[in-house]
């Protein structure tokens, strides 16, 4: 394998995911859906995984959900994240039903527990035109 240090992984939007990243840059969370069978789709896909339709659209999410699971990365992360820790990786279940991987940020982030309520926030990746949806604990 390569001995080159890894660079920070930055999402490379595809033709079908571009609307997600465009919305995130405007600090909006949007979720893909199928116009034929109404399936909510995450992660965004080329075709509907239920009916294989290519007739897909986007709807605005209120960005509210709960923590399905989490881990606090304390040491030994991948090289682009060395010195950036500790940080919280979590699976978020949006109230609309879809799940996504994200970070929990904010001053109480390390108190996170399964089931905690969270709300979306947005963090630009410096030096890129990508903004990542992240989450903060609420209440």
């Amino acid at each position: 394998m390569s001995d080159q240090p890894m660079s920070r992984p930055v999402p490379k939007p595809t033709a079908w995911s571009q609307p997600y990243w465009d919305a995130a840059r405007e600090e909006r969370l949007v979720i893909q859906h199928c116009n034929q069978c109404a399936t909510k789709i995450m992660n965004p896909k080329q075709y509907c995984p239920s009916c294989l339709s290519d007739d897909l659209g986007w709807s605005e999410s209120d960005g509210q959900g709960t923590v399905y699971s989490f881990s606090i990365q304390k040491r030994s992360p991948a090289s682009p994240f060395v010195g950036k820790g500790p940080y919280v990786v979590a699976v978020i279940r949006l109230n609309s039903g879809v799940q996504l991987l994200s970070n929990i940020v904010g001053e109480r982030a390390f108190d996170v527990q399964c089931g905690d309520a969270v709300r979306v926030a947005f963090e630009p990746i410096p030096g890129t035109d990508i903004t990542l949806p992240v989450f903060t604990l609420v209440g």
Binding site: M1, P9, N43, F70, K74, L101, I130
Partner: protein
Amino acid sequence: MKSTAAIVGTGEVPTGNYPNRTEAEAAVTACRQAILDAGLSPRDIEAVMPVGVVMGSRHFNTDLIFSRLCEELGMLRSVKLNAQVMAGGASGSATLKVAYALVASGAVRNVLVVHSDKFGSTTMQQGIDLFATLGISEEWEAPYGHNANTAVALITQRYMHETGTTEEELAAVAVSMRQWGALNPNAMFRKPITVEEVMRGDHVCTPLRPKTMSLWADGASAYIVARAEDARHITPTPVYVRGMASLVTHYSVSQEANLAFLAFPEVAKEAYAQAGLGPKDIHVAEFYDAYSVMPLLAMDAMNLCDGDRAGRFIAAGHTLPGGKLPMTTTGGAIAQGHTGAGVGVSLVVETARQLMDKAGDRQVKDAVNAAESGSGGTWMDSHISILSREAR
């Protein structure tokens, strides 16, 4: 499921750091052992099924695909199929399924499955960086600092949340693995440890402590699958495949609908039904680890813990040598060493050794039926197989 296939021979080289042992040399040695163990001649093998190489050289990976073993071991013009199967850590269960189908269909007699890889010379950071890409979505997961460790940590955390399993119980899994490793001449870690020693290690990522994880190693293992009607003529101790159930659950672990148990509950039920056996019939459990939570999922799903939680059952010592349900008697990836996809293959090999009465100091007395589990990549599939000395 009628028993139409059986394992008839196994081979394995010691797992650990062997910088001067090439992947090819280890593969050839393990294959030779398996053929001799079965009492076959190389020309009895009609299919060679190598498992994909991850850290060994690309050159060697291509050599495996391009029939090098057939030339090395005298199988030219008798082997009809030389083709790779790769399912990460589930490669033991997956190759067993494919080999079963090949012999059961009549397409070939005697399939030789082999894995050989060199993870041992990987530096810690190289390994972490590699496993921050394998089975991790580039677009949806890697940007958040996600990696294989956090993937299994998400499963572990949710499993603890739903079952009440404690960190000390996760540590007890590692203790069980190390006790078995102490009896395994092919294991990398042969010194027993205590729960306290495991708990003294600071979290890498919560709730994972270093000794509940595994270290990379070089290794190779091989086994041979034959038709059931041939198997009883090949060896006095054929190990029949009685059940093989599996489901692919996700690519991105964030998309897993049952993070606490994956598909182990469904596949356990199906494997029992196929085998015509129940929890009380299982005498040894060769469950995939890599991390301490994974065998717990399989133990719970297969209801092997007398109605108790798997964590509490293991913490009580029931899976240790001499315990009521010996588990992962090689010591698994945690004690034997993590050879990549070979972790799964070595568990199939150990399952067969136990049921052939060839497990040496680890031999579980009077073991008739065994369960084996596997899960690959970022735990994207759940496999349970049931094997037996007795045909159905």
